[in-house]
Amino acid sequence: MIASFCRTSAFAGVTLSLFAYWVGAALKRKTKLSFLNPLLISIAVTIVVLLTAHVSYDTYDAGAKYLSWFLTPATVCLAIPLYEQMKLLRNNWKAVATGICSGVLTSLLCVLVLSVLFGLSHETYVTLLPKSITTAIGMGVSEELGGNVTITVAVIVVTGVLGNILGEGLCRLFHIEEPIARGIALGSSSHAIGTAKAMEMGEVEGAMSSLSIAVAGILTVVGATVFSAVL
């Protein structure tokens, strides 16, 4: 009875996801271990529970889609911290512009070089080109260039979650100390999911990361089209 109810419930999955996030956040606060990332814990726990209880993703998503639904208005709101840091942006626009451009170019070059090394097909290559940008733009790029959109979305999400987990540590390891530079690094490499971490790191980081999502996304549309002709 209970099992069959959970298999069809619209709320069970979301409640589980949120609860796992809460537990993850509490664990992290207590232990201060960076690999105990609440987002990662929540995703992992939810997948394990869905698989063991034989609940399909579609059943889960029937309730969980309302969480995703908030992403568009939330992304719109990223303009607020950006506006609050306007003065800083105006004074440092050169650093911001060169940082994001170099990030976009690095991403495309990296995918090109490694695709050649692995001998990947053109389809897989163009599937990976938009991996560093926000899902909504990346899906369109992949589709336009003839890639596998399912893999593109998976890689974009994994990139974001990894950026969210590793971002702070990598900045420390490579001595990226300026808040503006840390925001650019997070936003250019791991889009909105990285920006969620940048918001936790500080207001300047969050604002610069928000800007990077939009600029890197749009630059990648152009860049990926050019790069797709290479391999």
Binding site: L18, I43, T46, I47, L50, L51, Y57, A64, S68, F70, T72, P73, T75, V76, C77, L78, I80, P81, L82, Y83, M86, K94, A95, G99, I100, S102, G103, T106, C110, V111, S115, L120, T124, L128, S132, I137, G140, V155, V157, T159, V161, G163, N164, L170, C171, F174, I176, E177, E178, I180, I184, A185, S188, S189, S190, I193, A196, I213, A214, G217
Partner: protein, 136 residues
């Protein structure tokens, strides 16, 4: 009432973004149009910060949980992913680290270069002390 009004303004902007995405033949999603509209509105003073701030900050604060469904979606793309798992994983990790380090380092370099030229020969004692410390 305040939060409701703020949320309503945010949704109106989101809706305009969606309309633009629908009308314009560009690969720009509704959220990016909306972000640009809200930013332009705040800069021109057409929208006041107080008219969107509380609801907006709340949405940004809970943003991480909005990515949980997309992450759980990995379980259904597993079949597509398995045949190319090794190269795709390597490319994902390597390029993530490369992009983060390059973009962060380049912008940090430009910031420090500009600070130096601005300050010119008038480097404060504090900066010199910090530099000496770094050299040691």
């Amino acid at each position: 009432m305040k939060i409701l009004r703020q949320f309503c303004r945010i949704m109106i902007i989101t809706l305009i973004g969606e309309v633009l995405h629908w009308v314009l033949p560009l690969p720009v999603p509704a959220s990016i149009y909306g972000m640009a509209i809200l930013f332009a509105g705040l800069v021109t003073g057409f929208i006041k910060l107080d008219q969107v701030k509380d609801a907006g900050k709340f949405l940004i604060e809970i943003m991480p949980v909005m990515f949980i469904p997309a992450g759980v979606g990995l379980m259904s793309s597993w079949g597509d992913l398995r045949p190319v798992l090794l190269p795709v994983s390597v490319i994902t990790v390597v390029s993530l680290v490369a992009v983060m380090v390059v973009s962060g380092k380049v912008s940090q370099h430009v910031i420090r270069l500009e600070n130096k030229t601005e300050a010119g020969s008038l480097l404060s004692m504090e900066d010199m002390a910090a530099e000496e410390e770094a050299e040691l």
